[in-house]
C-alpha cells in the first residue's frame, strides 16, 4: 500500500500470478518490507491486537449466528442452548461476550495513545478520522450485539438508546418508530438488530482496510513524533514489528483468557440473565461499561435534546481534533503542559465512566456537570490555547537519535502505566456493579463454596441432595426450564448414570402430542425431556402465588447479584470472586424473620426477609428442619438444605463450569509458554536493531 513494490518472485507459478494480479507484491510491500519507525513502544502493538480482536469477533460471531434464533420468544433460549448444548458453545459465547469488552479496552488504549503522541496531526488527519468512524461503528455494533440475548438489560438498553432519537425535533418520534418497526421495541427490532449486527463488523473491516491504507501512505507516527528521514530510522515490518506485535497479542490473549475461562460474567450484568420483560424496567439501567462516560454526559444535561447532542458531540468532537490542536510538536513527551492536561483528561474520562454507573442524583449530578465541562474544555479550550502559548521542549533530530538517547533508561513507565490502567479499568468496570447500590438490602454473608476459585468443582453429594430439595420443595412453584433430565448424567454434573437419569425422568409425566387422533396426552418422561414447569403459564403462576411470579430457577444464581463496593470489586478481579448469586440465594433461604422490625409495614400476603430487596417477599419461608430426608447422613437442617440447593442451582446455571476451568488451566499453561517463547524470539530479533 505504499507505492510500487520491488517484490520479485522467483517461483514461476508465483510469477505467473504476480503478472496478472500483483497481490503478493502488495502484501510484501505492506506487511514485510514496509518501513516502520524503530522507536515504537508497546502502545503501538494495539493496532495488531485490535485487528486480531476484530477477526476473533467475526469468527465467533459468524459461528454463533449458526445457532442463534432472532425471535423474541426464542432468542434468550437459543443463547442458553448455545451455552449448554452446542459443542464448545460456552467457550464461543464467552469469547464473543468478553471479546466485546476486550475490543473496547484495546480501542481506548489505542485512542489515548494517538491522543498522547499526536498521531492525528498532519499528515494523518484522514487516518484519525477513519479511526473515529471505526469507533462509532464499533459502538453501534456493540450496542446491537448486546440486544441479541434478549435479557432484561438487552431489552431496556435497546428501549433507552433508541429513544435517544426521539429527542430530534419534529421527526424524532417517526425515526424511533422507523427504528423499532413497531409501536414499541419488539420482534421486528430484534430481527433488524441481528441483521445489522451481522453486517456492521464487515463494514468495520472495510474501514479498517482504509485506515491501514492511510496509515501506510502517511507512515506510522512514533513516540518521538519526528518523521523518519533516513533508512537508519526505520526497520522492516517483518520480522521486527511482526514479532513485537505477536508478543503484544500473546500478552493480551493472557489477559483475555482470564475473563473467558475464569470471570466470564464479571464484565456483564446479572440482570441480563433474566429474560426480557416489557412490563418491568430494572431498577438501575446501566449500559455496558464502555459507554459509561458518554452515558454520564447524556445524564448530566437537564435538557433532553441538549443531552443527546452533547453525548454524540462528545464523540464527534474527536474528528475535529487535528484542527483543534494546531501545535507543531506531535508527541506530548516534548510538550510539558499538554502532557499534564492529557493525564487530567484521562482521569476526567475515567471519572465520567465511574459516574455513568452511579444513580443520577445529588452530588453525582453536579460532579457529572463539572466533568462534562472538563471533557469539552479539553478539546475546545485547553488544546487550542496550548497550541498557541506552550513552548515545547526540543525534539530529537531523528528517530535514530531518539533510540540512542534512550538506550540505558528502560521502559519502567510502561509497566507502571499498564498497572495503573488495569486498576483504573477495573474501577470502571466495577462501577457498573456499584450502580445497583441496593436500597434496603442487606449484603449476604460470603460463604465457602466448593465451586469457587480457579480449581473449584461441584460437590457431587451436594448436587444430588440439592436436586432432591429442588424436587421436593422448590419444584412446586419454580420451574427449571433450561435443564433436561439427560443433563443429570452429563460430565461435571450430579454424576447420574444414563440409566439413573432415565429412571429419574420416568418419574415425571410429560405432556406430549398431538397423537393420531389430534389429542394431547401424557407419557412418562424421557432423558431428552426438560423439567416440567409447575404452572402452564405466567398468569396461572401469578394466580396461584398471590400475584407474584416465582422465577425460573435455572439461571437464578447468575441472575442475582449485589454490589461489592470499592475496593472489593478490584480484589475480586484477582481472586476470581463471583459468588454473589450463590451467597444471595443461600442467604435468602435462611433470611426469614418472624416479626419484622418495628415500624416496617409488611404488606398483606408478604413475608419479611432480611436479604430480599425491599424485604417484603411473597414467597413464604420454604424450608424447615427435617423437611427433606437425606439418605447420606448429611444434617437435615435449613442451613444444609440451602447450601445444597444453591450448589445444585449453580450447576443448573453454569453446567459446564468444570470443563471451563479445566480448559482454562490448559490454555493458560500454553499461553504462558507461547508468550515466553515470543518474548525471547522478539528479543533475539531486535538484538541487532538496538
Amino acid at each position: 500500500m505504499s507505492g510500487p513494490s520491488d517484490y520479485q518472485p522467483t517461483n514461476p507459478a508465483l510469477k505467473w500470478i504476480e503478472r496478472r494480479l500483483p497481490i503478493l507484491g502488495l502484501m510484501h510491500s505492506s506487511f514485510v518490507a514496509y518501513p516502520t519507525p524503530r522507536n515504537l513502544n508497546y502502545w503501538w502493538t494495539f493496532g495488531a491486537i485490535l485487528s486480531m480482536m476484530l477477526a476473533l469477533q467475526i469468527v465467533t460471531g459468524v459461528i454463533m449466528a449458526m445457532h442463534y434464533t432472532p425471535h423474541v420468544d426464542m432468542a434468550f433460549k437459543s443463547v442458553e442452548s448455545i451455552v449448554r448444548d452446542v459443542n464448545y458453545g460456552w467457550l464461543l459465547r464467552n469469547m464473543h461476550a468478553s471479546g466485546a469488552s476486550m475490543f473496547f479496552i484495546a480501542v481506548y488504549i489505542h485512542m489515548f495513545r494517538g491522543l498522547y503522541y499526536g498521531s492525528y496531526k498532519e499528515p494523518r488527519e484522514i487516518l484519525w478520522i477513519l479511526g473515529v468512524i471505526i469507533y462509532l461503528l464499533m459502538m453501534a455494533t456493540g450496542f446491537m450485539g448486546y440486544v441479541l440475548p434478549w435479557g432484561q438489560m438487552s431489552f431496556w438498553g435497546d428501549t433507552v438508546i433508541t429513544n435517544l432519537f426521539s429527542a430530534i425535533p419534529y421527526v424524532g418520534d417517526s425515526i424511533v418508530t422507523l427504528l423499532w418497526g413497531g409501536y414499541s421495541v419488539g420482534n421486528p427490532t430484534l430481527n433488524r438488530f441481528f441483521s445489522l449486527h451481522y453486517l456492521l463488523p464487515f463494514v468495520i473491516a472495510g474501514v479498517v482496510v482504509l485506515h491501514v491504507w492511510a496509515l501506510h501512505v502517511a507512515g506510522q507516527n512514533n513516540p518521538a513524533g519526528v518523521e523518519p528521514k533516513t533508512e537508519k530510522d526505520t526497520v522492516p515490518f517483518t520480522p521486527y514489528a511482526t514479532m513485537k506485535d505477536a508478543f503484544g497479542v500473546s500478552c493480551f490473549l493472557l489477559f483475555f483468557a482470564w475473563f473467558i475461562f475464569y470471570m466470564p460474567n464479571y464484565l456483564g450484568d446479572a440482570e441480563n440473565y433474566i429474560p426480557a420483560n416489557p412490563g418491568v424496567t430494572p431498577a438501575h439501567i446501566v449500559p455496558e461499561w464502555y459507554y459509561l462516560p458518554f452515558y454520564a454526559i447524556l445524564r448530566s444535561i437537564p435538557d433532553k435534546l441538549a443531552g443527546v447532542v452533547a453525548m454524540f458531540g462528545a464523540i464527534l468532537i474527536l474528528a475535529f481534533l487535528p484542527w483543534l490542536d494546531s501545535a507543531k510538536t506531535k508527541s506530548s513527551k516534548y510538550r510539558p503542559l499538554a502532557k499534564q492536561f492529557f493525564w487530567i483528561f484521562v482521569v476526567v474520562c475515567l471519572l465520567l465512566g465511574w459516574l455513568g454507573g452511579k444513580p443520577a442524583e445529588g452530588i453525582y449530578v453536579i460532579a457529572g456537570r463539572v466533568l462534562t465541562f472538563c471533557y469539552f474544555a479539553y478539546f475546545l479550550i485547553v488544546l487550542p490555547v496550548l497550541s498557541r502559548i506552550e513552548t515545547p521542549r526540543p525534539v530529537p533530530n531523528s528517530i535514530a537519535d531518539d533510540v540512542l538517547a534512550k538506550t540505558g533508561s528502560k521502559s519502567t513507565p510502561m509497566v507502571s502505566s499498564v498497572i495503573a490502567l488495569a486498576v483504573a479499568g477495573a474501577l470502571f468496570a466495577g462501577s457498573v456493579q456499584d450502580a445497583r447500590a441496593a436500597e434496603g438490602q442487606e449484603i449476604p454473608p460470603s460463604q465457602k463454596w466448593s465451586f469457587a476459585g480457579p480449581f473449584g468443582t461441584f460437590d457431587r453429594g451436594a448436587l444430588q441432595r440439592g436436586l432432591k430439595v429442588y424436587k421436593e420443595v422448590c419444584a412446586s412453584c419454580h420451574s427449571l426450564s433450561y435443564v433436561a433430565f439427560r443433563n443429570l448424567a452429563d460430565a461435571g454434573g450430579p454424576g447420574f448414570s444414563p440409566a439413573q437419569a432415565a429412571a429419574f425422568a420416568a418419574e415425571y409425566q410429560i405432556k406430549d402430542g398431538p397423537n393420531d387422533a389430534g389429542d394431547m396426552f401424557e407419557r412418562p418422561g424421557r432423558p431428552a425431556d426438560y423439567f416440567p414447569s409447575p404452572f402452564p403459564n405466567e398468569q396461572a403462576a401469578r394466580a396461584a402465588n398471590g400475584g407474584a411470579y416465582p422465577p425460573d430457577l435455572s439461571l437464578i444464581n447468575k441472575a442475582r447479584s449485589y454490589p461489592r463496593g470499592f475496593p472489593m470489586f478490584i480484589v475480586d478481579l484477582f481472586t476470581q470472586f463471583q459468588e454473589q448469586g450463590p451467597n444471595y440465594v443461600s442467604a435468602l433461604m435462611q433470611g426469614y424473620v418472624e416479626t419484622p422490625p418495628a415500624g416496617f409495614a409488611l404488606p398483606e400476603g408478604s413475608y419479611y426477609n432480611k436479604y430480599f430487596p425491599g424485604h417484603a417477599i411473597k414467597m413464604p419461608n420454604p424450608l424447615s428442619d427435617g423437611q427433606v430426608t437425606y439418605d447420606d447422613g448429611s444434617p437435615a437442617t435449613v442451613a444444609q438444605y440451602s447450601k445444597d440447593v444453591t450448589t445444585f442451582l449453580m450447576w443448573t446455571a453454569e453446567p459446564h463450569m468444570e470443563a471451563r476451568k479445566k480448559l482454562g488451566l490448559q490454555v493458560f499453561v500454553f499461553l504462558i509458554l507461547l508468550t515466553g517463547l515470543l518474548y525471547f524470539t522478539k528479543k533475539k530479533i531486535w538484538a541487532d536493531a538496538h
Partner: protein
C-alpha cells in the same frame, strides 16, 4: 557473536525460532478444534435422536405407515402373503444389490418390513405401493424398489437401508 547459522550447525537462535513457530502452530491448530466441532449435532439434537417405539396394531395387512426417527422417514409395511412371496421368488444373485428378503426382516416376522424411506440415489422419498414390483417408486429419477425395499431398476445404487430396530413385543417395535 557466532550466530550465523548453516544447515550443518543449527544455532540456539534457530532452535528458538523453530520452537516458537511450532508452539504457535500447535496453538492455532488446537484453536480450530472448537471452531469446527461446534458444527456437529448439539447435545439436544443427540438426545432427541433416542430410539422411538412404534405400535404395530393399527397397521392392517397391505398397509404401511411412515414415522420419523432422527428426521428420517421410516416406512413400516405390513406385507401381504403375495408381497412376501414376490420378495422371495427372485434369484438373489440377479439383483443389482444382492440381499435376500430373510436378511431384511426379523425372523418369524416376515410380514413386517421396516426400511428408511430415503431413495439411495439422491435422497428423495419414494412412494409406497408404486412401480412395477408393487414396492416403492421414487418419482425424482425413476428408481424402482421391490416389496423388500431392494433396488430393481433405475439409478439408485443400493437397497433401501434397514434401520436398527427390534421387537419389544409382538405388536411393538423400537427403532434405533
Amino acid at each position: 557473536m557466532t550466530t550465523a547459522s548453516s544447515p550443518d550447525h543449527p544455532t540456539r537462535r534457530d532452535f528458538l525460532f523453530v520452537a516458537t513457530g511450532s508452539v504457535a502452530a500447535v496453538g492455532a491448530a488446537a484453536a480450530l478444534v472448537p471452531l469446527v466441532l461446534q458444527m456437529n449435532p448439539d447435545a439436544s439434537t443427540i438426545a432427541a435422536g433416542a430410539p422411538i417405539e412404534v405400535d404395530l396394531t393399527p397397521i392392517a395387512e397391505g398397509q404401511d405407515i411412515k414415522v420419523f426417527w432422527r428426521g428420517k422417514p421410516i416406512f413400516v409395511s405390513h406385507r401381504t402373503k403375495k408381497q412376501i412371496e414376490d420378495a422371495r421368488n427372485v434369484t438373489v444373485a440377479s439383483l443389482p444389490d444382492p440381499e435376500s428378503d430373510d436378511a431384511r426382516v426379523k425372523p418369524g416376522k416376515d410380514q413386517w418390513l421396516v426400511v428408511i424411506g430415503i431413495c439411495t440415489h439422491l435422497g428423495c422419498i419414494p412412494i409406497a405401493h408404486e412401480g412395477q414390483y408393487d414396492g416403492f417408486f421414487c418419482p425424482c429419477h425413476g428408481s424402482v424398489y421391490d416389496t423388500s425395499g431392494r433396488i430393481r431398476s433405475g439409478p439408485a445404487p443400493t437397497n433401501l437401508p434397514v434401520p436398527p430396530y427390534q421387537f419389544v413385543s409382538d405388536t411393538k417395535i423400537q427403532i434405533g
